[in-house]
Symmetry: C2
Subunit: 138 residues, 2 copies
Amino acid sequence: MSAVLDLFRTQGGRVTVSRRLLLRCLFDRPGHRTADELVTAVRALDPEVHRSTIYRNLDELERLGVIEHVHLGHGPATYHLSTERHGHLVCEHCGTALAVPDGFFDELAGTALTQFGFQIRPRHFAVLGTCAACATDA
Amino acid sequence: MSAVLDLFRTQGGRVTVSRRLLLRCLFDRPGHRTADELVTAVRALDPEVHRSTIYRNLDELERLGVIEHVHLGHGPATYHLSTERHGHLVCEHCGTALAVPDGFFDELAGTALTQFGFQIRPRHFAVLGTCAACATDA
DNA sequence: GTACCTGCAAATCTTTTGCACGACA
DNA sequence: TGTCGTGCAAAAGATTTGCAGGTAC
């Protein structure tokens, strides 16, 4: 985490209260969090931090490669540390998000590359479908 | 197309001007169109049709299975006839959407099912990445 | 001191909703 | 004639932006 603060400094940026708090929230409880959840979390530490500041800092952290955002379905984007890299299967019926290992998309990546010369980045959007539990219900 | 109009009738619905025009636009020029593009297209035929009516009719057509919407990236959803079923690879750099055959995701679907009991519906979100042209540029 | 960051308010963009009127069957 | 669809206006939800003041370095 202090490595990230250095990253801000070396890129000509500044280390500020809101950036420190946002990073603390991201590192303290890993996983996917929406911008709104992060606003709540940061404001629990300092109610002065403004929503738009958090959006701006999330953008900045993404530009620096520290975090990524993914879309688990309709609704807001979710942010997570780049170190937690995995794909997602999201059930359209119950909303459950299933984390899948990084290698899950390897076959697909190979096919895309050989057939179309296309390098996929398969984690940005979740793959929707029906989970085992909901399939047996139906 | 008249089959769809019958579908409206048999489901207890009505055939109206705006529904007729929306269907004409969808059938006349196939491919992905955003709601906004469809609003423009329908209004070229009848300027009275309201934006919200088109959204409501798109929902209804999707419920009837006539159309589907997909997300090709950030930005608005795109709608297309269910008969044009194919996945998409969207280049993050140039925005080009590459249509891929329906079988493209078969391997992934098998893996998801055997490993997680999860039935994927892989066409709802595009797969992002870098297309061949942009990869050689970089 | 100065460039960068922030709070604030307001705008943006896409989509949804409540309501009263009008039209299809 | 009764129900369903529509236009309208307004709200909703997520995110972005212009600006003027404040702060890290």
